[in-house]
Symmetry: C2
Amino acid sequence: MNIRFIINIFGRVLILLGLFMLTPIIWAFVYGEDTVGGILASSLITLAAGTVMYFGSLINLRKELGLRDSYFTVTFTWVVISLFGMLPYIFTGTIVGLPNIYFETVSGFTTTGSSILTDIESLPKSVLFWRSLTHWIGGMGIIVLVVAILPLLRIGGYNLFKNEASGISYEKLTPKTASTAKRLWGVYVALTFIMTAVLMFGEINLYDALNHAFSTMATGGFSTKNESVGAFSAYVQYVVTFFMFLAGVNFYLHYHFIKGRFKRVFSNVELRTYVTVILTVTIMIALVILYADHAPIEHAFRDALFQVISIITTTGFATYDYLQWPTPAWTLIFLLMFVGACVGSTGGGIKVIRHVVSFRNVVLHFKRMLHPNSVSLLKINGEVIDDEKVSSLITFLVLYLFTFISGSIIMVFLGTDTLTAVGAVAANLGGVGPGIGTVGPASNYYHIHDAGKIVLSFLMIIGRLELTTVIILFTSMFWDKYR
Amino acid sequence: MNIRFIINIFGRVLILLGLFMLTPIIWAFVYGEDTVGGILASSLITLAAGTVMYFGSLINLRKELGLRDSYFTVTFTWVVISLFGMLPYIFTGTIVGLPNIYFETVSGFTTTGSSILTDIESLPKSVLFWRSLTHWIGGMGIIVLVVAILPLLRIGGYNLFKNEASGISYEKLTPKTASTAKRLWGVYVALTFIMTAVLMFGEINLYDALNHAFSTMATGGFSTKNESVGAFSAYVQYVVTFFMFLAGVNFYLHYHFIKGRFKRVFSNVELRTYVTVILTVTIMIALVILYADHAPIEHAFRDALFQVISIITTTGFATYDYLQWPTPAWTLIFLLMFVGACVGSTGGGIKVIRHVVSFRNVVLHFKRMLHPNSVSLLKINGEVIDDEKVSSLITFLVLYLFTFISGSIIMVFLGTDTLTAVGAVAANLGGVGPGIGTVGPASNYYHIHDAGKIVLSFLMIIGRLELTTVIILFTSMFWDKYR
Ligand SMILES: [K+]
Ligand SMILES: [K+]
């Protein structure tokens, strides 16, 4: 194990984190809050730790990571930033109880957006800004992960997505991974500021606009309002809807779009399926609402569209408590938690392309049943995907289901009722945030058993890092002959 | 399409069915019931239809079935026997309403055991005997299917099970499929009569013993008592538990056992996993019951063991309403509905070996992540299983899940509450019988919407015939260029 280089990486990450941690101080000054000391202390501690780790590991540094080192580093980067990310809450005394603070911080960096806050608006605005910022930082981390790291590690079939599914070979896009990451970061940052600007045409101030833009582009879901996006006008709701939709699209496609490669974007199989699912489910839910409530058509459609896009992109904002809808409507919402957004986006969960491959594999299976002697192939965006890749991809689905079921059993044994257990696990493993049962969009995770909060935080990290990255650390074969 | 031969096959099946239909008349005489006319008429109509179909198709008969013909024939055999199997209920006027009668009959032949009867004991004993007999006939059908037909059609990975998973190559066992089927039928019939005899050492009469033996060996679950097996003594309950366990074991292994090949039996991976799961879950549930109720230890253990074996084998008998247990206990019971018994048994559902292969595939995936350049293989009972077979097998899991979810959505849209919808679909697709929600073991399916009953009957057939056999009939590619 190249401990030295791993510490060096953690050092760099912490220095970056410490710098980000300074920005909430601006808002403390703007709103005249007494949180400056607490936040500054947090930042300095993080910067100091980062600096010591970075420089302390520089001597004789060998910049190489083996496969195992990589899995270890990816998982523990999220753990390390979550630990230091807790400091602003601790030093400002705004959240009480370490399990609560850990839950809220992990939920931020994993862009899950589950919260233990019972009254969000009672917190200082500077601390809420840090809370939204953890989403945005997490989102940046995801982009590096998806673009640069997961494909190299062949995790969850990401080697497949990078080349075939997104329609682009990495080598064709740009010769250096770092450069690709920077381009996609550019798209991410640009969309965040465009969204902030567009929001401000509505009745919303810069602070709220920026917070919601962070939260939206990271598909996070933390809001600065108790009523979430329901606190704002229809205009704001539509803008958020549109940018949530964009945040759920493969960022490679955004880049192609900017470069004017429209055909490549609109012929993308995953994007087409994503749009089709959104429209189909929105119409079904709007009809169910209209049938039950006789609500105004525009309102029913807006609520349905917002909630559908919020859940499928795993953002988790709300403009309405979907649990108040008739059963068929919220059953569909619950199922959307297992769909997920597009690969290469900041969204979590299973992701659309895996469902597409899985469905085409079933079709392929039927073809082989009818024509056992002819060769049938599975193609995505015109490229053939072989049996081993399909198997690796479906393995992800099996593992996801297994983790979902195990998590639910643990929660039930910790005393949670079945519906809440299932809803909480689906929502946190999938990075959505609000679930069903007693953890719906009108509620929060405050009342969950402390042990349950730790389990759910763990599921957030597992889900965010595409399962295998984390789970492999718990296998005996990982530690065999590994020093 | 070789319509002539398909009709010929249906003719043979109906003649057999008509003969079986004569046997309840014995019980009508024994108990002096006025059902003789109705049952006799049903039998004669069935025999007449069978005879006409058989002899009418004999001229120029070409005894060949293509692949598509086979899928078609397998599915429609179950539909045809279900239609004629309704006659005894219709002509004796013992069940009212065609959807109810169809539901009860399909539930019988598919060995599901879901019932719409609100007061079982109010029915004539001769009719209840026919009801149990539909299970037993269904069980015989399953054995032919599993031994002779599915492996040839390569359905759900059955070609894999036949050779590797059960540890026997078909050719080694006996040179003719028909002969194999007869041997396993022999095991089935022998176990049924042994069980009847063993039961009669307890306080139970021949009629009830025989009915429950039919129901047990077919993993059916129809009882002659409103309280199911809870109506009988602890002795009877333990005997039923033991034979349910046996009915869930691969019948090839029974045959090997009789032939004294113990090592082959006890080294079987699926059998070992099946036993391990039963013991683990039984202990967990017994502890939950003891912790909550302070019940006598023997009683808690007996109830737990009975319910666990009843559900994992997909029999569906009850000695206790598991929905009255604490949430963790019935959550485990619900999950067992997705485990299923061993392949080559009369049990339905997913089956243990598919979980084993799926789990080993995940392990294989981890191995490949750690050692990308070395060759890792998946082995079951010492034989290698290649990527295509694994893919075909996991495809079954994906399709099962897809069918489960689609079925649940349809039930919810028909107005069923979520828990009941999920429970009913899991229980009927898996061939279990009782579910959760309002269709638990202490309840029945009478109150379900008529359309829901048809949907559930359909799911019973889909589940019983290993999904793909039936679902392929609904694909456009099946009917392309097929006359
Ligand atoms: K989220
Ligand atoms: K059953």
